[in-house]
């Protein structure tokens, strides 16, 4: 199944081919998981959101009009439910701020224990930066247009936004250089 393209996999899954479905999940599971986690949803809520996305895809196998953009469809669907659950938990959908959020990063203790400076620097970024960089890290095949649509910012500002996020990440990594 590894050599099948998305169109073939979606068609096969639609007719109940479990192997094709498992291959779709294998390809995109990390990307889908990245969306709620970059918004700091708890692992439990994040798992619920991801599962809702997979259930939605299973239900819409014949409705994916651009199979080559399945990654973007999954990100958009997952992001919509992520924002809903953020509100459900009484947390405002964050504005596009450039200062570090006050909330502590989640898997921090593990990171501290393992000297994971990159993760620690990443965890201090804004939700928007963490989302954009995590999508760029896991799905380099997503075009600027697809990422911009998925995260809801104008496509002509995504390049600059991504650049600023990377610059902030590098600055914070610099601040982490061992004394």
């Amino acid at each position: 199944m590894h050599d099948r393209n998305n169109s073939e996999l979606l068609l096969r899954a639609r007719f109940g081919d479990a192997d094709a479905w498992h291959e779709i999940v294998r390809r995109y599971a990390r990307l889908v998981w990245a969306v709620p986690r970059s918004h700091r949803l708890s692992p439990e809520d994040a798992a619920d959101v991801c599962q809702a996305t997979w259930l939605a895809l299973a239900e819409n196998l014949s409705g994916i009009r651009h199979p080559e953009r399945l990654g973007a469809w999954l990100v958009t669907t997952t992001r919509r439910e992520t924002l809903t659950v953020l509100r459900l938990r009484g947390r405002e959908v964050p504005l596009d701020r450039w200062e570090a959020a006050d909330a502590g990063p989640t898997p921090e203790e593990r990171a501290l224990a393992r000297d994971a400076g990159l993760w620690r620097a990443y965890a201090t970024l804004t939700d928007r930066c963490r989302e954009i960089l995590r999508l760029a890290a896991f799905a380099p095949e997503l075009s600027f247009t697809q990422v911009a649509e998925a995260v809801g910012i104008p496509v002509n500002s995504l390049g600059a936004t991504r650049g600023r996020c990377l610059a902030v990440l590098r600055r914070r990594l610099g601040a982490e250089v061992p004394r």
């Binding site: 798992a47 991801c50 599962q51 259930l55 898997p107 990440l169 990594l173 610099g174």
Partner: protein, 143 residues
């Protein structure tokens, strides 16, 4: 780890980030199994479109979610959700979640009541809506 990252190209830095994320915030194993089993949860039903969700207006409880032909009120109680609602048509309403369901009869006034719907992904299915025999179902959402 910290030193070399300062001289990396953007792509190298992003690849290093992917590795760090995989190491420190991996997708839980049980979620993979849940994703893989989503295929068997499909329903051959007409989709009831989402019209409004009070969580986007006022996140205060209780949550009101309105679909075409179906109004829901979700109250969080110990151990799950109490769902009250009304349906414009249909004889039976089913709350479905992965691996389970609970069913209620729609009364003559169109009202129904469901208890102990678990938190997490859920959808609601209306049966006996019209002569076609097809169910009407809401999209999946996290309750």
């Amino acid at each position: 780890m910290t030193g070399p990252t300062l001289t990396m190209t953007d792509r190298e830095l992003l690849d290093a980030l992917a590795l760090a994320v995989d190491d420190l915030d991996p997708m839980p194993g049980p979620l993979l199994a849940r994703a893989r089993s989503a295929l068997v949860e499909r329903a051959d039903a007409v989709t009831s479109r989402l019209l409004s969700d009070s969580v986007h207006v006022d996140p205060g409880l209780p949550r009101r979610v309105v679909f075409a032909g179906l109004d829901l009120r979700l109250d969080r109680v110990a151990g799950g959700l109490r769902v009250t609602g009304s349906a414009r048509a249909g004889a039976v309403v089913v709350a479905r979640w992965p691996g389970g369901r609970v069913t209620a009869v729609v009364d003559q006034a169109g009202r129904f009541h469901l208890e102990r719907v678990p938190f997490g992904p859920v959808r609601f299915v209306l049966r006996g809506v019209d002569a076609s025999g097809r169910d009407h179902a809401t999209p999946w959402f996290v309750a």
